[in-house]
Each structure stands twice: as structure tokens, then as C-alpha cells.
């Protein structure tokens, strides 16, 4: 659906060249939600703006539905952009227009007739749950409501793709959740493919199928959300994971505990989450597990559990227990001080 091929973007500034995006490849499949996560300045905003060519890539190609849009003239590009909705951190609504007009004006401008405009405004305000605010002005709405209007405006063009540029970053956690629920709903019910960028791991956790981690203009790690949550490789990815679930123990604590056994991180995915494996281990082998920290993360496509335990016992029994856990499909990682 969306394919970026070796896309780079270089800005020439007075202070010199800034390579905001470096040779990025990505492929968003139809009907999926893909997320790009990174700290501010990582280039993710430039990257998403390259998808609808608000920012022209310096090199590389962008394909939408198999059609290369980087080579289109401005008229054809405008036509193509009608199938790509976009929402923003700052909502970008007309301050001087009512909720109705905010959705209706772009529809009129793309040439829909009056009844069609009315029908669409009604339909999409209904979907975002703001029908009763139709005559309000943006200044009378909360941040979450403004984003809902912006989403309704994007949806009313009936796009196949929705780009979300930090759409929840200006919202409080509760409102963020409700907007994420809405994005998930339009993804499932309307089948809209979504590419989003964010610096919040909970956004990735709640709605993304596939994740790209971006750093200094590069995509440094990518994979399905479950893979990334269970087997993060890069330091940046681990840091982001730490923001939603504490995964680290202090080295001094680990050193202290290692005197009497091993400190292990166990990762459970799918089936293994449902079994009382620790109880089985302590029964079957002569070891006693002590849980240090534990958390469970609900992803869009599954549940990931993390437990850090201190396994007390002699070396052989510990080795056997690890073997047993691995056979049951548990990810095992020994932590070093």
C-alpha cells in the first residue's frame, strides 16, 4: 500500500547540510497499522511528510498502491493526495469555522454536491462521536474533540490511507487512549491503512501491527510489535520499552543476588502466558524462584508477559529449569550485573 524505497531527505541550512532522513525503506501493507517511533529530532516527522510529498524526498521513490507518486505532476499529485488523509499534532482546524464547516469546506473544494457534503459530514461526525458539536467552534472544544474533528475531516475524504503525525502527543493520557481506540476502530471497520509516527510507546503498544525504530534519520530496528516487545535489540528500543514497563534492575542488586543463583528475565508470549510454569519448575527441579518484577503488556495482536526472577539452587538444577522453560516457549535471558 505504502512503499518507501531508499528515501533520503537533506535540508540545506545556513549551518550546513542536515540529513533528516537517510536511505529509508519501508512497506506498509493494506489494512495494517504501522508505527514509527523515535525521539524528537530523529527525522520521523520529515519521514511521514515524505509519504504524501509535503516534503519532497531528495532521493528515493514513494509508491502508493503500486503507483510511483514521486514522479507525478502537481495536478496528478493533488488527485492522489485525496486518497491519503492526514492528521496532525496541532489539529490544524479552521479557527473561524464551525465543526460542520471544518469538515464541509474541503469536501466542497473537491467538488462534492451539497447533499453529498451534508451526508458525509453527518456520517463521519457520527463515527468520531461528535454529532452534538456540529455547530461549535474549535475554541469551544477540548483537545481530544478537536482531534476527533480533524479525524472526521480526514475520513470524510474517504481515503485508503491515514497518516498520523504525532496525533496524540498534545493530549492527556486518557484522551490519548480514546483517540487510539478511535484509530483502531476506523482501521478495523473502514479498513483504512494507517502509518503513524510517535514518541510514545503506549501508542505503539495499543494499536500497531509493525514497528520501526528511528534514530538520527535511520531506521535502526524494525519488526512486528510482538517481536520488538519480546526481543528488542537496540539500546533505543529498550529505552522505549522501559517507558511503559520497568525492565531493568540495578547492577548492584543483580551482583548481590548472583551469589545464590541466577537472575533471569523470562518473556512469555501467547500460549505460555496461560500456564503456571514457575510453579512447575519449582516442583520438578530443586530450585526456588523469587519474583523481582513482573508486568504484562497487552499488544494489539497478543499479550506479552515479562518476569524478572531470582532462581535459587545449584547450577545443574538451574540449567535444567532453563531448558524446561525454553522448551515451553518462554524467552529466557540471563541478566548480568
Amino acid at each position: 500500500m505504502i512503499v518507501l524505497e531508499n528515501v533520503s531527505k537533506v535540508f540545506e541550512t545556513k549551518k550546513g547540510r542536515v540529513e533528516a532522513v537517510k536511505d529509508v525503506n519501508l512497506h506498509v501493507k493494506k489494512g495494517e497499522i504501522h508505527g514509527v517511533i523515535g525521539y524528537s529530532g530523529a527525522g520521523k516527522s520529515t519521514l511521514i511528510r515524505c509519504v504524501n510529498l509535503l516534503e519532497k524526498p531528495t532521493t528515493g521513490k514513494v509508491f502508493i498502491n503500486g503507483e510511483e507518486i514521486t514522479s507525478l505532476n502537481s495536478g496528478k499529485l493533488a488527485e492522489k493526495r485525496k486518497h491519503i488523509g492526514m492528521i496532525f499534532q496541532g489539529f490544524n482546524l479552521l479557527k473561524t469555522a464551525t465543526v460542520y464547516d471544518n469538515i464541509a469546506i474541503p469536501l466542497k473544494l473537491i467538488g462534492l454536491n451539497k447533499t453529498e457534503v451534508e451526508n458525509r459530514v453527518k456520517k463521519y461526525l457520527d463515527i468520531v462521536g461528535l454529532s452534538e458539536k456540529v455547530n461549535s467552534y474549535p475554541s469551544q472544544l477540548s483537545g481530544g474533540q478537536k482531534q476527533r474533528v480533524a479525524i472526521a475531516r480526514a475520513l470524510s475524504q474517504e481515503p485508503e490511507i491515514l497518516l498520523s503525525d504525532e496525533a496524540t502527543s498534545a493530549l492527556d493520557p486518557e484522551t490519548t487512549d480514546s483517540i487510539l481506540d478511535l484509530l483502531l476502530k476506523i482501521n478495523i471497520e473502514l479498513g483504512i491503512t494507517i502509518l503513524l509516527i510517535t514518541h510514545e510507546m503506549n501508542v505503539i503498544q495499543k494499536i500497531c501491527d509493525y514497528v520501526y525504530v528511528m534514530e538520527n534519520g535511520d531506521i535502526v530496528e524494525q519488526g512486528s510489535a510482538i517481536d520488538l516487545f519480546t526481543k528488542p535489540e537496540r539500546e533505543t528500543t529498550k529505552k522505549f520499552l522501559n517507558t511503559i514497563a520497568q525492565r531493568k534492575l540495578s547492577p548492584s542488586l543483580i551482583n548481590q543476588l548472583q551469589g545464590t543463583g541466577s537472575v533471569l528475565r523470562l518473556t512469555f508470549v501467547g500460549e505460555s502466558t496461560g500456564q503456571p510454569l514457575l510453579a512447575a519448575v519449582s516442583k520438578q527441579f530443586d530450585v526456588s524462584p523469587n519474583i523481582l518484577t513482573a508486568n504484562i503488556i497487552e499488544l494489539k495482536n497478543g499479550i506479552v508477559g515479562n518476569i524478572v526472577i531470582h532462581l535459587e539452587g545449584d547450577q545443574k538444577h538451574i540449567r535444567d529449569s532453563l531448558q524446561f522453560l525454553k522448551e515451553k516457549g518462554v524467552g529466557v535471558e540471563e541478566l548480568e550485573g
Binding site: A78, I84, M86, L93, K95, A97, P106, L109, I110, S139
Partner: protein, 223 residues
């Protein structure tokens, strides 16, 4: 009371005529200044570096031209462009003769005010419309100008008040008006009453224009 009656009998027709002249001058030159100034302001914004039609040459040229005209005091401009005025309207005196310099004086001012109003419009909104595949032409009209309306109206109010001030000097080419009346009778002939009366009328006029402008702008502004 008697003095008042005498005053009105003697001066009311003259003041009335002067008011009409002022209204004519302000109205007509405002109309032309807006017609020239607004597109000029839009052009200034669009040709700015980094904007939709970025063009360094046009932008710099416009900038320079506007700055030059805006540096010349109206009284000098009035005489300086006499040949041009003659060419355009066929005369250099009367209300007709003063319209051309007034327009040349006010249009660049309106262009500048327009430029700052348009630049206030949140560029994110323009971008959102660009992302929806809406042509620049329509974005200018339906987004930029629409969102800038409250600020444009305040700018036009300022320009109108400035224009009233400039018409006072129109007396020098025999165009009359309230300012001319206050100067000729009030100042030169020392008819203090006439001066006070015209100044009072001017104060009321400026005051009302400003209030109307403020109210209209507030009504359009929704935040």
C-alpha cells in the same frame, strides 16, 4: 443659544459640504487602495522565501517599491506625482485630483498590513489543506483569507483612519474636506469655533470607524 444658532446657520452648510468631500475622498480612495493593496499583500506573502510561489526577485522588488513609497511623506508625494495624476485622471485638482495620490499612499500601506495579517495564519492549517490535495488558489481564498479576516478588518480600520488624516492635506490641491476646513478657517482665519467643531467631528468619525472595525473583527474571530 443665540450664538449657537448663528454658528450653525453660518457654518453648517460649509461643514456639511466638507464632510461630504471627506467621505468621497476616503470612500473612493479606500476602494481603489483595497483593490490594489489586497492582491499586493497576498503576492508579498506568496512570493516570500519558502512559500507556495517563492520568488526572490518579485518579492524583493515589491518590498523595495513599497518601502520607497512608504518613506515619502504624503505632502511630498502629492506634488511629486502631479504629472502621473494628470495622466490618470486628467486633472490635478479637486477631489478627483487627490484620489490618485491618496491611493498611491494607502495601497502599499494596506499591502503591508495585509501581509502581516496573512502571515499570522497558522501554516499548519494551510499544510493540512495542501495534504488534502486542494489547489493553492483555493487555499488562498478559502483558508488564508478566511482565517485572516478578523485581522484584515483591523488592518483596514487602521488604514482608513490613516487615510482620513491624509485627506487633511488634500486642501493643498483644492479638494476640500474637513481637515482643509479646520486649517483654512480655523487656523489661518482664526475662527476657533469652526476649528473645534471640525476637530470634534473628526474625533467622532475616527472613534466610530475604530469601534465598527473592532466589533466586526470580534464577530468574525471565534476564539
Amino acid at each position: 443659544m443665540e450664538r449657537y444658532q448663528q454658528f450653525t446657520e453660518q457654518w453648517l452648510p460649509i461643514i456639511g459640504k466638507a464632510m461630504i468631500e471627506t467621505f468621497q475622498m476616503v470612500g473612493i480612495s479606500l476602494l481603489f487602495s483595497v483593490i490594489i493593496g489586497i492582491p499586493l499583500g497576498i503576492l508579498l506573502v506568496l512570493t516570500r522565501p519558502g512559500q507556495a510561489m517563492a520568488n526572490k526577485w518579485i518579492y524583493q522588488l515589491l518590498n523595495l517599491l513599497i518601502n520607497i513609497i512608504r518613506s515619502v511623506p504624503f505632502i511630498i508625494l502629492l506634488f511629486f506625482i502631479l504629472p502621473f495624476t494628470k495622466l490618470i485622471v486628467g486633472t490635478t485638482i479637486g477631489v478627483q485630483g487627490v484620489i490618485v495620490p491618496l491611493v498611491i499612499y494607502t495601497a502599499p500601506y494596506i499591502a503591508r498590513l495585509m501581509e502581516s495579517s496573512l502571515l499570522e495564519v497558522d501554516s499548519g492549517v494551510l499544510e493540512a489543506y495542501e495534504a488534502m490535495g486542494i489547489p493553492t488558489r483555493q487555499i488562498i481564498w478559502h483558508v488564508m483569507l478566511r482565517e485572516a479576516r478578523p485581522s484584515i478588518i483591523l488592518g483596514l480600520t487602521i488604514a482608513t483612519v490613516g487615510l482620513i488624516g491624509a485627506t487633511a492635506m488634500a486642501g493643498l490641491v483644492g479638494a476640500g474636506g474637513l481637515g482643509d476646513l479646520a486649517y483654512r478657517f480655523g487656523h489661518l482665519r482664526y475662527e476657533v469655533d469652526v476649528m473645534y467643531a471640525t476637530v470634534l467631528i473628526l474625533i467622532i468619525l475616527v472613534q466610530s470607524i475604530q469601534s465598527i472595525g473592532n466589533r466586526l473583527s470580534a464577530r468574525l474571530k471565534k476564539d
